[in-house]
Subunit: 455 residues, 2 copies
Amino acid sequence: MTADLTALAATLPDGALLTDPDVTAGYRQDWAADPNAGTPLAVVRATCTEDVQAVMRWATAHRVPVVPRGAGSGLSGGSSAVDGGIVLTTEKMRAITVDPVTRVAVVQPGLLNAAVKRAVAEHGLWYPPDPSSFEICSIGGNAATNAGGLCCVKYGVTTDYVLGLQVVLADGTAVRLGGPRLKDVAGLSLTKLFVGSEGTLGVITEITLRLIPAQSPASTLVASFESVQDAADAVLAITRTMRPAMLEFMDQASINAVEDSVRMGLNRNARALLLAQSDAPGAAAAAEIATMVAACESHGATEVFATDDPEEGEAFTAARRAVFPAVQALGTLLLEDVGVPMDALPRLITGVEEIAGDCDVLICVVAHAGDGNTHPLIVFDPTDPGEVDRAHLAFGRVMDLAVALGGTITGEHGVGRLKRDWLPNQLGEDVMELTRRIKTALDPDGILNPGAILK
Amino acid sequence: MTADLTALAATLPDGALLTDPDVTAGYRQDWAADPNAGTPLAVVRATCTEDVQAVMRWATAHRVPVVPRGAGSGLSGGSSAVDGGIVLTTEKMRAITVDPVTRVAVVQPGLLNAAVKRAVAEHGLWYPPDPSSFEICSIGGNAATNAGGLCCVKYGVTTDYVLGLQVVLADGTAVRLGGPRLKDVAGLSLTKLFVGSEGTLGVITEITLRLIPAQSPASTLVASFESVQDAADAVLAITRTMRPAMLEFMDQASINAVEDSVRMGLNRNARALLLAQSDAPGAAAAAEIATMVAACESHGATEVFATDDPEEGEAFTAARRAVFPAVQALGTLLLEDVGVPMDALPRLITGVEEIAGDCDVLICVVAHAGDGNTHPLIVFDPTDPGEVDRAHLAFGRVMDLAVALGGTITGEHGVGRLKRDWLPNQLGEDVMELTRRIKTALDPDGILNPGAILK
């Protein structure tokens, strides 16, 4: 250990600073498995805000890059290690307090999303955002990426539930932004600026979450289609008139990957499947389900199944959440996360089919269809150099297609390092310049997650 | 007109630049009637984004302050004119296009909130945020202040509906942020940063709004109480268990001011009144109303009236909205807008009563009680210097009380110029410094609404 690192270790609890290469190797990559991830100088497992401050003060003094990391489940390489930098993980910071009268939870960033949901459920409350990875992703990572999920189509994304943050800035200053107030416009919307900033502006060390009363039991609909266009048209017919609590799309390859792994009895011959829920109270749920059944049938659904049994519905939802791991069994993945304005959803989905054909590569598509956010999963054999090239070509072409349709290169995963090169194409040079001005104002030495979002 | 102004006029449509003192005097103040408002050099009535760009380019070249202005209904002096500056009003920019498939509206900033609601209602859609002033305030001002309203307790505030913005920066560059995508995390959350920035970072020239299906007809409850504490306790009993579509509080002075002006038949002897709505679908509304009736009765309500007639309910809502103008008939007002975490609501409301007594001044209290956002209206006789002083003392003490209770000096009106001196007390010096860094990065010459939010 260098003298400098020894000085840092002295400011931290015993065992918080790790330099054993066998240990630090486990912190080089997140789930995106960025092949260009660097080798960190050290990993710090912070136990409290003061630890994070100590790291940032030291990093500023020594001009050392710091990559903040939650549970490492990111899908865009937002926490790929940087050569010679510190990986600062909040995985040990897992405290939570729930106030059922004020209806907020104050949470440390390392707590898993599922643990937040469980803790607040004990008070009859609900924290809605539900990334598919909710059992393994941290709430800090959710805030850093402004994570989405399945129920967001009705209940909104992470930023809609973040009332306040404690953030450690580049120089080690800890600031409190917002707080447990449902409405607060005092000063600039700094809380909202830090949500989704992917660790490039500061390190989140505490989050104040807005909670709502527990969700009503959901009724569920599963509809099969002979074409992806029909399914996408049915989605628009539904979202024009109502707000489902979930509206998910799976293509044939995804259906079969899931059936191969969990055997739900999904229709393997369907070209597309929609999975929708209503959590409207009382008899209103049946009315909403009936509206969605009618929309599916009038757009060519070949099979429609509905149930008001919450457990049966949850089994279908679990099947949908199982798509990522199920498709991973087929090969190495490039995970897309493109979104479009709702009216362009059919063109995006059929366009991805064309790209798969053109590039001669398998692309499984699952989508949070109700908000236009799709996940084309590009599957390739990493030992076949030609296929690797074609997969990367498809990866870029899908993003280009989304932008051409007025969409976004990332709906909920973040830009990280894997999508950084496509960001200027979406935002344009003036917005990139605006972004750099804010980055420079808050991180003048460029030590906070360098290479994420911006080059 | 100076040579410089003549040069500016030449870049604008005929009649857009106004210098007649009789005309420009009407643009010195907003509804806050800031006594320290300055005298502008000129007023520009922009007709399009390019006009705004022309003004900002000219202002940057000549280091002239620009105060952006919507409908002038602001309550914190956010658009008080600055001596020697330009007042840049967007009141002429009123175009709107509604896309019912994508379910967004693209709106120019000068369109009134009520006109936005009407235009989208033609497509069976709803833009929820509803400031009490919705018939006279502009959507641009709503975005600039992150305005709230009555239905926000269930449906959220302006920022929750702003998907995208076009903004003209200090140097005249026009940028597009976000867009008609329900989920988009590409880059920093710049859209959210500009919402609520009160014209200090840029001038909003176009807004892309998220719309939702039309609201179900609402059922309404009116409950009278013998003490404000009882009413506040009933509010907590309601918000712990459910999400009303509206939950408003009026104290006795407000009730009587309204009765004096609109004669609704409200109980003049009640010390406090709650007005609540449920818009749950079908039979669920009756269940929600029953829950609220029970909460009111178990907290000492002396009279409870419920109706499922939407028109009757709207009459009560209109009475609540009439409080500001009704109380204005009693004297000159200092309008408070303090909010607290829900558990502190009873202490805030009773504390305001004590301040009124201590300062020997009338304070009428109305509140968006369901989200802890209160409007103590301090009434004074401007010709009585002693009372003027006591009113201003009370104004500051109410904000101090809110901050001491963990609250905010402004829940929905904005800081503007009238609350600027109290902002550091809430945010602390480190957050003020962070705010200044962002302001300087985006407006290095300090020409955008100088004096608002920051000194």
